[in-house]
Symmetry: C2
Subunit: 471 residues, 2 copies
């Protein structure tokens, strides 16, 4: 930790330059501390990594202490711990609840990584590693912004700060979803700040004011009591793989329109103004196809634009499927079971429970003869939208414009950050979704990256936001 | 090896009792040698077991030598070796080509085995192990029958014998399919004898006179260039798992009728007499469902009986499917690829090449937008039927009736033994399909078994068959 610059006493509004100076002087350390964080393989979905997840929680707590936060606490849960900290001495100033997550997605398929997923590597100004941008890098921006502000002011912050960081974001966030409603008083704040989204494009200041919800399920289909020889039984015994294929294939028509009754019943179209603003965004469908998706063609409901399909329409995806013999060569077996992971992305005003109920009855109605289908729900959260006229959003938009020198755009994300819905529902506060990732960061994929300069831009912008929101 | 009983010189026809005596006296050794054979995990489809497959070939050769066969030869091939042996001193007598395979199916799923798959275990009069009945146990019956006949006659056999045993039966049998047409003179015989089928039911002498053919393929579907985050791309990016599901689901209608054009074009219905004989077989559909299949209901084309569906109708099965994230928990990924193993069972007079061509164009026609589908053919062989009036079949039927004390029934098998077609096509000879397995032997499944008494009955019956066929 470098010695603080002695600047306490001067007014915050002239501090922007000094913020830049402090961040510049500490770049090396800010980056190396992020690398140390990333080296911890905190994969929340794999039981064998539970110890690493706990180490990542400890690392987070230590970072918060070093930044001068108080009441740093590792909160035990049924699964992975939460990390809480605060600084509440800015009398009369608003309170900001900073959220992030220290857990990451599994790195597989491993063979597609250019460099090891948990050995952060710099290439062409990017930091390549699992968790680089989702969300370790963006979470560290908050902590480093807080350190910067306290360093510049001697020992104070321009607003009251509460920090709540989870380790189950990639597996549905059950623990924090239970914790927030239980701790309303402790978590009371005026606004939440989340950096788990991306800039619309390089250099474009972007505030996300809408997120899709997510229902994640497992579907298991069982048929014969044991694996059978397909020669001796083929033609008379039910095949659970084929049964699963049959029923799942009926969930969507060829254009991607979901066939589950009631799926679009509560769907709300975005306001005309919002739809128009999307039309003005620099979006190139050929470029999106070639540079990001890389398939022969895009798919989805033809009646909607790509941005509408991804931001404002519900979707059904099969994330994984497994059954029977999948080794090399041939095995003529009719297996006794097959499974699939199926999720729904939700938009306003869809209700997760209603979607699950609809899916369950759809499966029941379409289960082929001779097989049984079981549905297990792993998680469910609704979509959220934030009012762009909220004071915090307005300050964020102005600050963003200052640091990047371009007008801020308001977008949605097709992704899901369930906690944002919980903050709205239980704490009654909106969330500023101020992220510094890029569309090609390969979240959840091999070779995930974070543009190193955006890490520092994020620290600067967030410090400014907290500074000006406190005025 | 016990000392030979001195019975040479007496006519074969009074030897039946002595055959029984010799087999009885040697039961312990016959069984322990089979167990030694089974302990070799000769899984032909798994590269890591290639060494075990070779050991099994060596074991087979040693057994043939010990039984008194001559010119024992391990024939190198592109993959797993063949084992050849002969005894050609029965002047003026017919020549019988004995076939079997020493390779086995993979044992997975391992957790469902009561005792380890490659540690043969006796329970309730059965021998439990992978390969116990398919085909190590049945192949050993031939060798032990030959040993018995030579032992009883001093040193001769009632017919000329050629033995050809392969190690690739469970993976399509490419090497023997190449070897047979190349070695027509060497393999010249009057009839082939194969024991790789089952009794229709316990105690019912059964000759199989029809086998389904098999086309085994791998279908690979690719979409995005890399795995994608389903939140950020769901609704616009093609999902290869869903594309694979869509196209495979179209291959059959709800009743199991295959929708691939031309699939039933060359199909030949069994003769009325054969269909009638099937009706007279002791078949209980409820028992078949409960004791063998164990599912909620049977499936398949409603217009055909279960036996017709399994013996005389083509089928399409998906044996395995894999794609995306299938670990525990949740991963919100749109994977870049998914694969499935798909096979067709063929009946007279379907042509494997024509079926493959039809499947290929069907996949091409139904590949969803944005994805690519590749078809790889692992093997292909047509169905075969044998004329029940052939002298060898008549002798086999009579002998079978003698040993089991009931009239022999003629059935078909839904399984595939490609070599039987090759023998007919290239050597111009029919095959006696004389098997001693049982319908509930769980071939290709966990807890495969062979009824120990049937092993000895098989040795006795085959010895008698060779004896009487030589008269």
């Amino acid at each position: 930790m470098e010695p603080n610059l002695e600047v306490s006493g001067i007014s915050y509004c002239v501090m922007s330059q000094t913020i830049d100076t402090y961040v510049d002087r500490n770049k090396t350390r800010f980056l190396s501390e992020l690398k140390d964080f990333i080296r911890i393989p905190s994969i929340s979905t794999l039981p064998e990594n539970a110890g690493d997840v706990r180490r990542a929680a400890g690392f987070t707590a230590a970072q918060l202490r070093a930044a001068g936060l108080e009441n740093v606490e590792i909160v035990e849960t049924a699964k992975h711990p939460l990390v809480y900290a605060d600084w509440l001495h800015a009398e009369g100033k608003p309170t900001v609840l900073c959220y992030g997550h220290y857990d990451v997605q599994p790195p597989d398929p491993l063979d597609l990584w250019v460099t090891p997923p948990f050995e952060p590597t710099e290439r062409d100004g990017n930091l390549y590693a699992r968790g680089a941008v989702d969300d370790k890098g963006q979470m560290m921006m908050h902590i480093k912004a807080l350190e910067t502000l306290r360093a510049l002011s001697g020992s104070t912050l321009p607003v009251n700060i509460k920090v709540l960081i989870e380790g189950e974001e990639e597996v549905g966030g059950a623990s924090i979803a239970k914790y927030v409603p239980e701790q309303k008083a402790k978590l009371k704040a005026d606004v939440a700040l989340v950096s788990d989204t991306a800039l619309y494009a390089e250099g474009i200041p972007t505030l996300c004011i809408g997120l899709r919800g997510l229902v994640y399920t497992e579907v298991e289909c069982t048929g014969p009591a044991k694996d059978l020889h397909s020669g001796l039984y083929g033609g008379s015994a039910p095949n659970p793989i084929f049964a699963l294929i049959e029923v799942l294939s009926k969930t969507k028509d060829a254009s991607g329109c979901i066939q589950i009754p009631g799926m679009y019943e509560d769907w709300q179209a975005p306001a005309a103004a919002e739809l128009n603003s999307w039309k003005s965004l620099p979006f190139s469908e050929p470029e999106f196809l070639e540079k990001e998706v890389g398939s022969a063609a895009l798919t989805g409901e033809p009646a909607y634009s790509v941005l509408e399909r991804v931001w404002a329409r519900p979707t059904l995806e099969v994330h994984g499927i497994a059954g029977g013999f999948t080794g090399s060569g041939a095995k003529t077996v009719i297996p006794s079971r097959a499974t699939a992971k199926v999720s729904f992305r939700l938009v306003p005003d869809q209700d997760p429970d209603k979607i699950v109920a609809g899916f369950r009855s759809f499966l029941k109605a379409h289960t082929p003869a001779g097989c049984k289908i079981e549905l297990r729900v792993l998680s469910g959260s609704p979509a959220v939208v934030v009012n762009p006229d909220h004071p915090a959003i307005r300050v964020a938009a102005r600050v963003f414009e200052e640091t990047l020198g371009r007008p801020t755009v308001f977008i949605r994300s097709g992704g899901s950050i369930p906690i944002v819905g919980d903050f709205a529902r239980h704490l009654g506060i909106p969330t500023v979704l101020m992220g510094f990732g890029l569309p090609d960061d390969a979240l959840h994929s091999p070779n995930e990256k974070f543009k190193i300069e955006n890490y520092f831009t994020g620290i600067r912008t967030i410090a400014r936001f907290l500074e000006q929101y406190g005025e």
